[in-house]
């Protein structure tokens, strides 16, 4: 897995609550091979169905946000379907960090497994970020996983909590299966205790 340490990048504001993974990746693209997979990201919001051209009203189509690597999102981002392809398309589109007051549980875990950092922040700080990014489109936000802090364009900062296990995994790009197989003896013992045999 790709490690995550620190980024400073353009952040795009998406104020809506409850942006579900069907919006991030419409289901009809789930079976596509992971080649140029970023093209499906927010597809139906970005691309007009009848003209097949970009919808100018959508925030990611505005020139200031085209290089964005951070999303500042409304509450409960990534709710709904467990499709990990939603994280694949976000990552391939160029996103590495997502900031919100909260995320869908499965989506949150899927992000961590793919080196995309989901950051839970207080509502007040998210509101400040929205205002800053709308006031100065294209402004940068810094996300530092080592320090567990986020810096807004005006220089104000907020710290965030993250599970130490997930922090280590992200910082080091740990392969979780290899890590767990290091505990194979304990899995063997659990299975032996419960009379579970292996072929």
């Amino acid at each position: 897995m790709q490690a995550f340490t620190r980024i400073e990048a353009v952040a795009v504001p998406m104020r809506d609550a409850d942006i579900d993974t069907d919006q991030v990746l419409p289901a009809r693209f789930m079976h596509k091979p992971r080649e140029n997979y970023g093209q499906y990201c927010f597809h139906d919001l970005r691309i007009d169905a009848s003209t097949t051209r970009e919808r100018p009203g959508f925030v990611l189509n505005q020139p200031e946000f085209r290089e964005a690597s951070v999303i500042v999102a409304g509450p409960n981002f990534g709710c709904g379907s467990s499709r990990e392809q939603a994280v694949h398309t976000l990552k391939d589109f160029g996103f590495r960090a997502l900031l919100s007051t909260g995320f869908g549980d499965i989506f949150f875990n899927n992000c961590v497994k793919n080196g995309v950092l989901p950051v839970r922040l207080p509502a007040q700080f998210i509101a400040r970020l929205f205002d800053a990014l709308e006031h100065a489109p294209g402004a940068h936000v810094a996300v530092d996983l080592y320090a567990q802090s986020v810096s807004a364009p005006d220089g104000s900062t907020a710290s965030f909590a993250i599970d130490p296990f997930q922090k280590d995994a992200l910082l080091q790009g740990t392969d979780e299966i290899d890590f767990t197989l290091g505990l194979a003896r304990e899995i063997d013992l659990y299975e032996a205790r419960h009379g579970l045999t292996r072929r």
């Binding site: 289901a27 409304g74 869908g104 194979a184 899995i187």
Partner: protein, 479 residues
Amino acid sequence: MTDPSTHLETLFDKLWRNHVVHEREDGHTLLYIDRHYLGDDLPRDTFDLLARKQLRVRQPEATVAMADHYASTHGSTLADIVDDDRRSLVQKLIHFTSDQGVPMFALDDPRHGIVHVTGPEQGLSLPGMTIVCGDSHTATHGAFGAFAFGIGSSEVSHVLATQTLWQKRPATMRVQVDGTLADGVTAKDLILWLISRIGVAGAVGHVIEYAGSAIVALSMEGRMTLCNMSIEAGARAGLIAPDDKTFEYLRGRPFAPAGALWDNQIEVWKGLRSDPGARFDRAFVFDVTEVAPMVSWGTSPEETSAIDARVPNPADIDDPQRADRLQRALDYMDLAAGTRLLGLAIDRVFIGSCTNGRLEDLRLAAQVAYGRYTTVPAIVVPGSRAVKLAAEAEGLDRIFMDAGFEWREPGCSMCLAINGDEGLSGERCASTTNRNFVGRQGRGVRTHLMNPGMAAAAAIEGCIVDYRELLHDASVHTN
């Protein structure tokens, strides 16, 4: 002095404790997984990962596969799948499972179906288990007193290789539901009603345990419908303590324990309940006496109202962000504020899915369809082949076909519209599924969630009606 209540455990606490393989100081826990269902809609490289690492599936017998999302509802062979791309995904699942010795119910197998319908009806989902699947509606199996939750595809690979998952302990939420559901009000209406109150993010980070007289009264099918949509309130999982109804449902199922083993298990399963006085992180108490059939009108499952309600007005909402979100939902749904749900014209009807594709659901829809005729395209997709065969044995297929419904092969079908079954842009669809997200049933399709009787009635009348007026026998069990 120690608080005696700290020794009391919730049902979830017991399930968790029984599955701990390794616990880190930071609380992250390696949990053992008893049952793993494999579907066909995972990213293409999910199974390649094991080959790259030269790993085998650790417990092939704990794993069961079926191709539900891409299964055609027009036939039961690979050739029926809508295109080569999607056929290749199902073929990949077939090759992987056969190579690894993982049981798979083939498309033409009498046991084939949606994992969340087939698993329980085959007795593969049992009380006390940890159950996972790369699908958010895995919460369904919590109806049996199992800790069942959806996972991503990286976690699918991890479970295949290690039979375990790293988990941070979720919080617990008790949802006590008292009272008696009125005639014609189903488990689907109950869960839509609960979500409209708890909210789509209301249970994030929590495992819900449902309890109370209205839950005890539900059939196992109804309990599955309820737990199935726990994810739509954001919950990690939904749970119901097993009782005699659970045991009766499971008795004699093909993969359920039998003989002396069964008797032993029953004794163990009877202990799977929250100790009186056990502490939950959050608790709700509801009375459901007044719940009516529910219909969603927006683009989030919490945007749901009773059948006699009107669509809300964004002007009544103070928060401009929420008002704007609501206005866009109404724009997408092509609904003006204040519109009555009753009488809203429908273009298409879908009856099926892991939420409402079981025999009891089809019986309710057939009760409405009997002797009438559809006015809009309507399809019935049983949740599994076992459901299909049982429905045919009762003659439900004839009732549906005589009424103009299409009677199809089992699968997920129009719940997420990736098997070729989908609505057309601009159509309004009455659907017994679980999500009314933008584009969920096809780009531009407008989904209204409701119970199977309501959907059948919409197919007959061509608009949303209170189906209770069409029920032939209101005394029929409809929970």
